[in-house]
């Protein structure tokens, strides 16, 4: 297999020789800065011209022979002498693997490019794994659960001294407990951790919810933490798909030309004990420019069925604007259902047919 560069310089020309093109710094803490010097020797008989052409990140700065340089800077190395290239990199990026560097061009015919790289891992003193409490979809009548670890890599103990869910509505539906984490269950290289377990119990409101969990800890470097809390409560009947705005129950269709028309496909999800037995019908559609049709139900599980709902504006429809209250109102699709608690589902449709 071949890589990007191989070198075997002839003896009469300038010869760029370097012991290493990659320096591995192993681990460094986020927010700190490190340096490494690469030495580029001229093993040839002619002067070696070096030009600094690029660096991969502004978080990595370059000094050439002791002077801070920008791309375009150059230096000439006499035979048997060496240039010193110092790379300095700041760990001002998220924790994780780090690799950046600088590229030089040379007049060595066999090694016209030298890519100098520094790599390693940036580590935080404290990490949240994962970084948020995401409940996903929570069905009405059921509970959602989300967990996270507060992990310390520098301090021997993690204690959550107090916590508070900020949004009042989210708070009244959320229970939080803190559990200890056994040494054997700690993430790699971690010294200590605490487990945050959150349970969401929906109390009526359907739709997305968001808040945050504020925590006070014993950690010197992370005494106060705030993590997003996120999810959506779904009723037994819910709708999703391109253009669907759950919060307002509106399908927003991009403006369509009369000659082209348009077609939008949504999915109606039926969840819960009545999922399989519930039947849907298109009861009414207004105005006439809109057409709605239901497809074949797909039984995903006994308590979960999806039915495609297609909303068409047929080609040739008359130009019309129905984009909301002050712009011609909205269209409406009414679905009748056999669900015992939800006999009807109304969808608003905001759309424009252009001439």
């Amino acid at each position: 297999m071949t890589g990007e560069a191989e070198a075997q310089p002839p003896a009469t020309a300038a010869q760029a020789s370097i012991d290493e093109t990659t320096f591995n710094f192993d681990k460094m803490e986020s927010g700190t800065t490190q340096q490494h010097t690469f030495e580029i020797k001229n093993g040839g008989k002619s002067p070696l011209d070096l030009e600094f052409v690029s660096h991969t990140c502004k978080c990595t700065t370059v000094e050439l022979n002791g002077k801070s340089v920008e791309p375009g800077a150059s230096a000439t190395v006499p035979p048997s002498e060496a240039a010193k290239v110092l790379l300095e990199w700041a760990a001002k990026v998220p924790a994780g693997p780090f690799r950046h560097g600088a590229t030089f061009t040379t007049n060595d015919p066999e090694r016209s490019r030298l890519e100098l790289t520094v790599e390693g891992d940036i580590v935080e003193s404290t990490t949240l794994q994962p970084s948020l409490l995401n409940f996903g979809n929570v069905n009405v009548g059921a509970e959602g659960k989300a967990e996270m670890l507060v992990v310390s890599f520098f301090e021997p103990e993690v204690t959550i001294e107090s916590f508070e869910v900020t949004d009042a509505k989210v708070a009244e539906q959320t229970e939080v407990t803190i559990e200890p984490v056994e040494k054997s269950a700690l993430p790699d290289k971690a010294l200590a951790a605490a487990k945050v377990v959150a349970t969401f119990k929906p109390k009526g409101t359907i739709g997305p919810f968001a808040g945050s969990l504020k925590m006070k800890t014993n950690l010197k470097r992370a005494s106060s933490l705030e993590v997003p809390v996120y999810g959506a409560v779904k009723g037994d009947i819910s709708i999703a798909g391109p253009g669907w705005v759950d919060a307002t129950g509106t399908l927003r269709i991009s403006p369509a030309k009369s000659a082209d028309g348009s077609s939008s496909r949504l999915n109606v999800s039926l969840r819960g004990e009545h999922a399989k037995s519930t039947e849907l019908k298109v009861a009414s559609v207004t105005p006439n420019e809109l057409k709605a049709s239901l497809g074949e139900p797909k039984v995903i599980r006994d308590n979960f069925v999806q039915i495609p709902l297609t909303v068409d504006i047929p080609p040739g429809s008359r130009p019309i604007v129905m984009m909301g209250e002050d712009q011609g109102g909205e269209g409406e699709i009414v679905l009748s259902t056999t669900h015992p608690q939800t006999p009807e589902v109304r969808l608003k449709v905001a759309f424009v047919v252009k001439p």
Binding site: G3, E4, S54, A90, N134, Y230, G243
Partner: protein, 516 residues
Amino acid sequence: MRIPTLAAIALAALGLLAIGGNAADPAAKPKIDPIKANGEIFVGWPKPEFALVISGELDGYLEPCGCAGLENQMGGLKRRETLLKDLKAKGWPMVNLDMGGLVKRLGVQSEIKYRYALESLVDLGYQAIALGGRELGLGNIDAVSGALMNIDPAKNPVVSANVGIYGLEESVEMGMTDRFRIIEAGGKRIGVTSVLGAKDQAALAGRGDIAVISAAAGLAQVAPLLAAEKCDLQVLMVHGDPAEATALALQFPQFQIVATTGGAEEPPKTPKAIPGSKSLLVEAGHKGMYVIVLGFYADPKTPIRYQRVPLDARFVEGTAMKEKLVAYQSELETMTLAGLGLKPVAHPDGEFAGSSACADCHTAASEVFKKSPHAHATDTLVKLDPPRHFDPECLACHVTGWRPEEYFPYKSGYLGLTETPEMLQNGCENCHGPAADHVRVENGEVDATDQEKEALRAALRMNIVANEGNKDGQVFEEGQVVKNCMRCHDLDNSPDFDFQKYWPAIKHVGKLGAED
């Protein structure tokens, strides 16, 4: 997605200044030759029997990463389209694979973006795409399933050995995913599967709408099925990290190519041979800035060639992905900010008044502001092709009264060109804080004591501490001014930002002579 913003505007301003003879503009820099900077590609490559194109962790960057001027940015699906077209035009049999991680954030805009990114890769001819942790972590899994089910089943490339939407079997039965895929290219059969790694699985703990088994358990089920397909090459995509991918490669040695996410932003110059195996470990970096191309040859001396392809300005913009981007921006417009779930929240320090209210008294400072790039930040979005002034990820740093890092409006902040015309541009209050109370008091609309008046003034005053700046040897932590600048002038969007160089260009003093 970010687009050319403050730094780009600064460059535009630089052009004007340079014409006027001011060579000392802080943002001045030479034009970059992408081939000189990032090197030539495919040097000495004969036509391969087939080639794998491997990408991953697009992280929502449908367009090039950052706002530092398009010629300096890397990535973007428009450039990827051109690369793939170029290779296809050369007659190379292509196998396009993506390791997932198409989006990074949460919310309705990310749900829409996931659908566009997925459809874009399908349009680009991708034959296998893994499910990443971030897309699975989108709160509304119905949006993910909707995106998957809207793809023509005959073209759906999404693959996972250990994850299913709603259920492992259900996901396959409904045509959303497959456990593995067999791809034919150049007369060869290439078997591909993917797994979600342990760290991303942990983030899905408790989720009842996603079925996950461990990567090893998933591969234990799929590997024998793949082996029975008598493939010429087997590829494993690990949406995890290099250490986990390495362990899986050793446990399942049938995969000659193991591609992994979770590496550094910049992929390595060469693939890594995994010690103790015959497998190669391949990373593709983040934000879609690079793709990796592996060429396969009958030549026993050089059976595989590797190229890290920087998606820089050498690649012209592809038209199909441009159309896709136009449609994406159009959908954001159709959805409206409210439809994207962006409900204005109260700013802790009050309401915004708009820069014209500031200009009534702070005339000298206002004159400086008007000549700065900040004063036409929104106009820049409107003039772009396609315009981006419906895109919250762009608006956040281009209007007044938004929270830059989290892309949402504050109450009384910008809502639209016509709805809130006084909140256009990156106005005074984005740095100084909301000033409506101060304006009301100074205009005599509200009674206040002298002490209260002064307190409101003081709250808006900014003090640059001695040697405050964002470079080494300068004072950063103790100051507040530079931290505020860097909410927009970050490494992605303003990599050259140097407060001490930029500040003189917008230096302004307030009514009382202080730098407020």
